[in-house]
Structures are given as structure tokens and as C-alpha cells.
């Protein structure tokens, strides 16, 4: 056991002034000295590209790494809906405080007030910055920016670029990054995957990477390292994350001493296309905006095999409208997802595998006309039809919840620094701003806030204290050891010579995690998972088959290391879920629900961040608690009835 103290470094003073005061109190680096510092940025999604570009603009030497072939491919690109900002352009009563309040409440009172308030504050600057970069947000005829309401928010604060907001924001950050590359201020290393974080005397001094095109393993040293490597939703195997999304960077940092927080807070998105068969590799998200005009229902009777148009009104159960009359089909994500699970578990699911619910547009079509409905959702309908061969204008869509976003991640303080000095985590990789549930259109906001407006200040504060120190040379024994360990791991995987592919084990692991640590969890299941996952991992380590060599491209070798990390993470998710004897946001413990089946929080005992410390292979992690203090909003039971 170590003596980790979780110091969140939240500034003093009234909530509204904390970030401003903190910015003033931070140490500055003289412009002439900035170029003496090297910052390593790992990952080029919204947070990574934004941070790398901004740090380079400030004058730091930036080295930027991505395992993709181009910094434009990170999964931030797949976000459809939009980005929130408290601009109040619509004069509908929005404000920084309201965005802060909505986010805290939406997160089921499990996030830090100060972080969330800062997020709401800088949300305004993000829109200004993105427009200046040329992000083609939707406009009204007068040339002003258009907004829409999203994800059940009662104000219109979501900015969007068709159904491709994530893509456009990422391209904006990517372009800013490429400009810095052309100016020689960023050294960009594509096809380069982080495989270890290197520490010396307790401080992060660099990373070890493998070039996925050539197989070259080498070290990089820097004064600070920023992990902007996304979330771990692929622990479920079937998720809406990209195929290559993984937890490896965050996990290897965890194993080097960074605490991992709130692993059990995973968001299950209600509107995804249900899996069609065993061979499916991933699930596809359909934008939540569909719930604005679609009605969700299942047949009232079990084993009702009639086609949907032959099921009369009286035999349909519009269960969201029935249970939540005021929010109806627009109930928050966690609530809508669980309600779908309940009806499917009852055996009233629809589709060939009985694993979905209907999202029906026929009522909207008769009310608004085919043209209007198609104008609003045409591109989503086309996408649905490409995948399922069914036209939602004629047949109701089938949807089912799927893992989508992970609120948990590396524990960071107010400065986004992990418990390892010099090691930062930004974007989805950290745990900080969404509490136990993320609101729609807030992920893009957080990634960009961390990258453009938070880390560039706080990293400078840290670097100011290192003036005069040069980076640890990559010939130092700490780097040599880490490289040897990476090479040794590759050699070990290649020499197992089992019978099954890494993909096979990932799928099996995903089934366990989804079954026991998915939308609803209970003690028995979690305990079962905690014994079954290690057993499966043992088989995996004996029987996995990785062909080829460590030279050149070897996608199985890349995959096997990621799966190994998912095994350890899956265990931690279950352990965290087991520890948290309450239901909140995306974490639903069956034992802790109200009489009518809603999540029951336990603020007395569990109003804390659960951060876990790695204790070595085969030993359970140690829990550290950071108490959550609510000075401005009073935790209350969320109600969407």
C-alpha cells in the first residue's frame, strides 16, 4: 500500500471565480523559455489534436502520436448530434450556470462542481474558436448560427453541422494541428502506438511506442505527457466505439501508478441498431435526435410474431410514454436504455432475434408528412437501410441500447494531472466532468475544452517548475528497461501458439462484461464475473494464437495486447461496480432501486469518486476515495416522470 493522497487541487473562492483566479495564480513560462520544453501528446482525437495544436501555438516543442494512419481518424469523428455551449443565442434562458446545473444533475451528482462549472464556462469559447477555424456549423437564413435542443435538454444550446458535428470539429482541430506541423512546431508520428509510460523517480518522463507499420519499438522523452486516448467502451466487445479504440494507453499508465477512477460508470446509448448475428463486429449508433419524432414501443403480448403494421394500437405498449408521461420518449439515456432492457428481458423484444424495440415514425409521418420527416432524418434513414435493408419510412426501426461512452477513466485533479506528476489525461480518457452519466452533446464539449482551454494553461504551470531541467535521455536505464519489457511481451505473445484468435477472446470477454456489468448489475453476477474473467484470461494467455512476427504490420499482435488490457480492465469494472452499493446514472445495481424501479442513490455513503490503485498482477487494486462536495447544488433524486 502506498501513501497516495488524492488532492483534487480545487481552487478556493466562489464557484464562478475559481477558474479565473486559478489562471491568474498559475506560474507562467517566458515565451523564450517555452521552446525549451518538450510535451508528448498521445492521441489525436478532439482533445489530443486540440491540445497539441494549442501547445505548439504557445511555443512548446510538441511531439504528437497516433496509431492511426492520419490524425483525422480518431473516433471523435463519429459523433453525430452536436456540441453544447451556453451561448443563449436563442434567448430561452440558457446560461453558464444552467449548463453547469444540467450537467451536474444529468451526471447524477457524481461529478466535481468546480470542473463542471469550468466546462460550462469555456463552452462559450469553444464555439467562437471553432467558427474562427472554419467549422461549417448550421446557419439560419440571416447568417446566424442555428441551434437545436438535444438529448432532452429544455433549452436549445446545441450547435451542429448536419449529422457530422464530431467530424467537423475533429477536422477543425486536425487542420490546426497540421498547420503547426507545417510550421515545424509539432513533430507528428502517425502509425505509432503507445505501449508504455516511463517514470523516473516517480515522475513521468516519457513513453515507449511501437510503429505499427514497421514494428520499430522506441522511446520518446518529454517534460510532460498528455494521454488523450479515449474511452474503454470496447471492453464490451460490441459497442459503438471504433474497432481500434482501446484502453491500452490509459491502462499502462494505471499500471505505472496512475489511479483509475469510476470504472463502472459506462454509458449505454438507447438508440443503436441491434446486433444481427454472432459475427457482428460492432454496433452502429443512430442519433438520439430520432427520439424527437419517433415513438418507442413493443407488443403488449409475449411472442407476438405479427409484423408491426398488423399489431393494432391496443396491443402496443408505448412503455416510455406510459412510465414517464412528462418526458416520454425523450427520457435521459440511462433511463431509456434500462426501460428497453426490461421489456426485452421480459421476452417482448422484436426482430428476428427478439433483441430490439420499435422506434416508430408512422405517427409523425401522418402528422408532418413524409417530406418533412425525411428532411429531418433522411440521412439516418439511409444509413439504417444500408445496414438492415429496411426502410424506416415504411417499417418501424428496430433499436436496442449499446455501450457508447465511458464516464470513468484515469483520475485527474483540477489541472487534469493524474496521480503521476507530469502525466495528464484529457477528454474521455479521464474521469472528470460527467459524473455517472453524460448528457448528449457534452462529449465533444469536454474533449475540446480540455484540449484548447484547460491543459494549455495547467501544463504550463507544471512546466514552469521544471525550468532548466533537460529531458531524461532515451538511453537512460528506465527507457531501456521499458523497451525490453515491450519487446519481451511481443515475443511472448508470438510464442504461445494456441488455437484461437485474439478476436475470439475479446468477444468472449465482452459477453461476460456485458452480461454481468452491462445495463443492470447485481452482487451475484459481479462476483461471478470476478471469478469467470480471470479464468477466461488464463485460457487466453495459454491458448491465444498470434501469427507472424513483430517486424512490420501485424494487426493480431496489436490486438492481443489490447485484449490483455481489456481483461484486466473488465475485472476492475466489476470490482468497482461491486464496491458501489448504490445505483447512479449509468451504474444500476438491481439491489438499489426505488419501488417503481428507478435508480436509488446513496449520498450518505457513496458521494465519492472511487479511484483504484494498481498493486501488481494478480492482486486486487486498492480503493482510494475522493469525497465530492456540493456547495452550490443540492443533490436530489432525478425525476423524469
Amino acid at each position: 500500500m502506498s501513501n497516495v493522497i488524492l488532492d483534487s487541487k480545487i481552487p478556493e473562492g466562489p464557484l464562478q471565480d475559481r477558474w479565473d483566479n486559478h489562471k491568474f495564480n498559475m506560474k507562467l513560462v517566458n515565451p523564450a523559455n517555452k521552446r525549451k520544453f518538450t510535451v508528448l501528446v498521445v492521441g489525436t482525437g478532439l482533445a489530443g489534436a486540440a491540445a497539441a495544436a494549442t501547445l505548439a501555438e504557445l511555443g512548446y516543442q510538441v511531439k504528437c502520436f497516433t496509431f492511426h494512419d492520419s490524425p483525422r481518424r480518431a473516433h471523435s469523428i463519429a459523433a453525430q448530434g452536436g456540441i453544447n455551449a451556453a451561448k443563449n443565442y436563442k434567448n430561452d434562458g440558457d446560461s453558464v450556470y444552467r449548463l453547469f446545473y444540467d450537467t451536474i444533475k444529468g451526471g447524477d451528482f457524481r461529478a466535481r462542481e468546480s470542473n463542471v462549472y469550468r466546462l460550462a464556462q469555456v463552452s462559450v469559447n469553444i464555439i467562437d474558436q471553432c467558427v474562427a477555424q472554419g467549422v461549417p456549423f448550421a446557419r439560419e437564413y440571416g447568417g446566424l448560427l442555428d441551434n437545436r435542443s438535444f438529448g432532452g435538454a429544455q433549452v436549445s444550446r446545441t450547435f451542429y453541422a448536419r449529422g457530422q458535428t464530431g467530424q467537423q470539429l475533429l477536422l477543425g482541430a486536425y487542420q490546426a494541428l497540421m498547420q503547426q506541423v507545417s510550421l515545424g512546431r509539432v513533430e507528428l508520428h502517425t502509425k505509432t502506438e503507445l505501449l508504455d509510460v516511463v517514470k523516473k523517480d516517480g515522475v513521468a518522463v516519457g513513453i515507449v511506442t511501437r510503429n505499427v507499420a514497421t514494428g520499430e519499438v522506441r522511446s520518446w522523452s518529454g517534460h510532460a505527457t498528455l494521454l488523450c486516448t479515449g474511452g474503454y467502451g470496447n471492453a464490451f466487445y460490441l459497442s459503438t466505439n471504433a474497432m481500434n479504440s482501446n484502453v491500452t494507453a490509459a491502462w499502462r499508465a494505471h499500471k505505472k501508478g496512475a489511479l483509475f477512477a469510476n470504472a463502472c460508470y459506462t454509458q449505454i446509448h438507447p438508440t443503436c441498431i441491434p446486433a444481427s448475428d454472432e459475427s457482428q463486429s460492432k454496433l452502429t449508433l443512430m442519433s438520439e435526435s430520432l427520439r424527437n419524432d419517433g415513438r418507442i414501443w413493443v407488443p403488449k403480448n409475449f411472442d407476438d410474431n405479427r409484423p408491426p403494421d398488423q399489431i393494432p394500437e391496443e396491443d402496443r405498449d408505448y412503455y416510455l410514454e406510459r412510465k414517464y408521461p412528462s418526458f416520454g420518449n425523450l427520457a435521459p439515456r440511462d433511463i431509456a436504455s434500462r426501460a428497453a432492457k426490461v421489456v426485452v428481458d421480459e421476452g417482448r423484444g422484436v426482430g428476428p432475434l427478439k433483441n430490439g424495440v420499435y422506434l416508430d415514425f408512422s405517427e409523425s409521418i401522418s402528422r408532418l408528412g413524409e417530406t418533412t420527416v425525411f428532411e429531418r432524418y433522411g440521412n439516418l434513414f439511409d444509413m439504417y437501410e444500408r445496414i438492415t435493408d429496411e426502410n424506416p419510412m415504411k417499417v418501424p426501426m428496430r433499436i436496442y441500447p449499446a455501450s457508447h461512452y465511458t464516464m470513468g477513466g484515469l483520475w485527474v485533479d483540477y489541472n487534469l494531472m493524474t496521480t503521476v506528476p507530469g502525466l495528464y489525461a484529457l477528454g474521455e480518457a479521464n474521469f472528470s466532468d460527467h459524473g455517472a452519466n453524460r448528457l448528449g452533446a457534452s462529449a465533444l464539449m469536454q474533449g475540446l475544452a480540455d484540449g484548447y482551454f484547460v491543459a494549455p494553461y495547467t501544463v504550463g504551470d507544471y512546466l514552469a517548475g521544471l525550468l532548466g531541467q533537460s529531458v531524461v535521455p532515451t538511453t537512460d536505464p528506465v527507457f531501456v528497461e521499458a523497451e525490453t519489457a515491450v519487446n519481451e511481451a511481443s515475443r511472448r505473445w508470438l510464442s504461445i501458439g494456441g488455437t484461437k484468435s485474439p478476436e475470439h477472446y475479446h468477444r468472449e470477454l465482452g459477453k461476460l462484461v456485458w452480461e454481468y456489468c452491462g445495463m443492470a448489475r447485481d452482487r451475484n453476477g459481479l462476483e461471478k464475473a470476478l471469478s469467470e474473467i480471470p479464468a477466461l484470461r488464463e485460457e487466453f494467455e495459454k491458448n491465444v494464437r498470434v501469427l507472424g512476427s513483430a517486424e512490420g504490420v501485424n494487426q493480431s499482435l496489436e490486438k492481443v495486447g489490447r485484449v490483455a488490457d481489456f481483461f484486466e480492465l473488465g475485472e476492475l469494472m466489476c470490482r468497482d461496480a461491486l464496491m458501489r452499493e448504490e445505483s447512479c446514472g449509468g451504474h444500476f445495481r438491481v439491489e438499489h432501486q426505488t419501488d417503481d424501479g428507478e435508480a436509488q442513490r446513496n449520498d450518505e455513503e457513496f458521494s465519492f469518486v472511487g479511484a483504484w490503485e494498481w498493486n501488481g498482477e494478480g492482486t486486487a487494486q486498492t480503493l482510494h476515495k475522493e469525497a465530492l462536495v456540493f456547495e452550490n447544488v443540492k443533490p436530489s433524486q432525478r425525476s423524469y416522470k
Partner: protein
């Protein structure tokens, strides 16, 4: 459904490469093309043979990582669809499917079906941005953008950088990619200050790697985002303007 696959295999960039034939058995209509390849790969691994290397990531048609030449068509037979969104119901039982990597001098093969598209990044790097350092820009609503301009810019900005345009072009030309980024930025008021410098820089960088346009229009047919070649016309015009007049003093003039 059962398919015969003729797949290009190439161990490294210098290997001459060859076609190998595989049987894909038990292919279902609901599978995507890449899931079908995943299944083939899993069988290959279990049989002790190295799996086929191909690129893919988001599998929802937006990241632009995947891209295969399927029976001579970039991203396969379905219009406006990336390889990952192409489903097997577009094929029929017993069909022979030929799968090749993108072919262009600018896109060297890395391994099997994976190519190196860094030339695209080089083009963006040379000018595909609006210089706006993070800081305190004007309020977003102070820049008025007419809705048609914003919409057309968005049409162009929809490019996912997959390289299908280059792959489908018999000249290996990168004009659709380059012109889409130019149109996105050159149509917006924010992009006017650097408009002609950007056009010069991006076009001339493009020409270091890619061929010329013969107005065949194959690229717009292959484009999964259906970006029209009208943007190439716009690029041609802006490029001439950038050369013939000192437009840098008057970026605002069209």
C-alpha cells in the same frame, strides 16, 4: 452464401505481391463486407495462416480508414457507401470477388490491402486550414455566413479522406480531395484572407504526388460522400486567379 475471394497479398512495400484465393463460407446477408473478411481471417488464423491485413476503424462510414477496390470499383458496387457499410446482400451466392488495394503512385502499399495515404496529410499541411490560434476570437455570431454558403461548404467538408477518388481515377489524381478542402475553406468568410495563398500552396503540393484531372468524373461516382466535381472547377478558377493577379492584397474579392 458462399463466395470465392481473390485477394491481393503483399508482404511489404517492396514485395511484388500476388493474388491468393480463399473461400468465404457461411456468409450472411446481414454481414458487412469487412465482417465477412473478419470471418475469413479468423479461419485463416485457426488454420495457422497469416490473416489478410486491411485497414478499418469506425465501421460506420465516417472515419475514412477503410477502403478496398472490390471487383474494380472503389468501395464496391453500392453508390455513396464506404466498404465498411457495404453489406453482403449486394453479392450473390457463388460469386467470385476480386479485392485489391487502392492503386496510385501516391498511395504505396504497406501490406496486403493497406496503403499509405500520408500524401493527403501533406496537402492539408500545406494550407488546408484557417490560421486562427486558440485564444480570443470574435464572438461566433459576429461572422455572418449566408446559409447557402454554409451548406455548400458543408457539402465539401463532408470529405472523409478515404482516397476512393484517387483510387477510382485512372490518372491517380487527387483533385477531388484537394478541391473539397479548398471549397470548404474558400467558401466561408473566415477563409478569405488566406484564400489564394491556400489555393496555390495546396494545388502545388498536390501536384508533387498526384496526376492531373481529365474530367472523367469517376471520382465523384466513387466518393462515399458523393462530393461533386464542381468543386474541382472552383479550384481551377481560384488557382488561375492566384497566379494572374495580386489577389493577396484583396482576398475578399471573388
Amino acid at each position: 452464401m458462399q463466395l470465392t475471394l481473390k485477394v491481393w497479398r503483399q508482404d511489404n512495400p517492396n514485395d511484388p505481391g500476388r493474388f491468393e484465393t480463399y473461400q468465404a463460407t457461411d456468409v450472411k446477408d446481414e454481414m458487412s463486407f469487412l465482417e465477412m473478411l473478419d470471418a475469413v481471417n479468423e479461419n485463416l488464423i485457426e488454420a495457422g495462416r497469416e490473416p489478410i491485413v486491411f485497414d478499418s476503424d469506425c465501421r460506420e462510414g465516417i472515419c475514412g480508414t477503410c477502403g478496398l477496390m472490390i471487383n474494380g470499383q472503389a468501395h464496391g458496387p453500392q453508390k455513396g457507401t464506404t466498404t465498411c457499410q457495404l453489406h453482403m446482400r449486394k453479392f450473390h451466392d457463388g460469386e467470385t470477388v476480386t479485392i485489391e488495394p487502392w492503386r496510385a503512385a501516391a498511395f504505396p502499399v504497406v501490406k496486403d490491402l493497406m496503403v499509405d495515404r500520408s500524401a493527403f496529410d501533406a496537402i492539408i499541411q500545406s494550407g488546408g486550414f484557417i490560421s486562427a490560434d486558440t485564444g480570443a476570437p470574435r464572438d461566433a455570431n459576429e461572422i455572418l455566413v449566408p446559409k447557402p454558403a454554409a451548406d455548400t461548404a458543408m457539402d465539401a467538408a463532408a470529405c472523409i479522406g478515404c482516397g476512393a477518388c484517387v483510387a477510382a481515377c485512372p490518372n491517380g489524381a487527387g483533385q477531388l480531395f484537394t478541391s473539397a478542402k479548398l471549397a470548404h475553406l474558400n467558401l466561408l468568410p473566415q477563409g478569405q484572407a488566406e484564400r489564394f495563398k491556400r489555393t496555390e500552396d495546396m494545388v502545388e503540393t498536390m501536384e508533387l504526388f498526384f496526376g492531373s484531372c481529365t474530367n472523367y468524373g469517376e471520382c465523384q461516382e466513387a466518393c462515399p460522400k458523393e462530393i461533386p466535381i464542381d468543386f474541382i472547377a472552383m479550384m481551377n478558377r481560384d488557382y488561375l486567379k492566384s497566379k494572374l493577379a495580386n489577389r493577396r492584397l484583396s482576398g475578399q474579392k471573388h
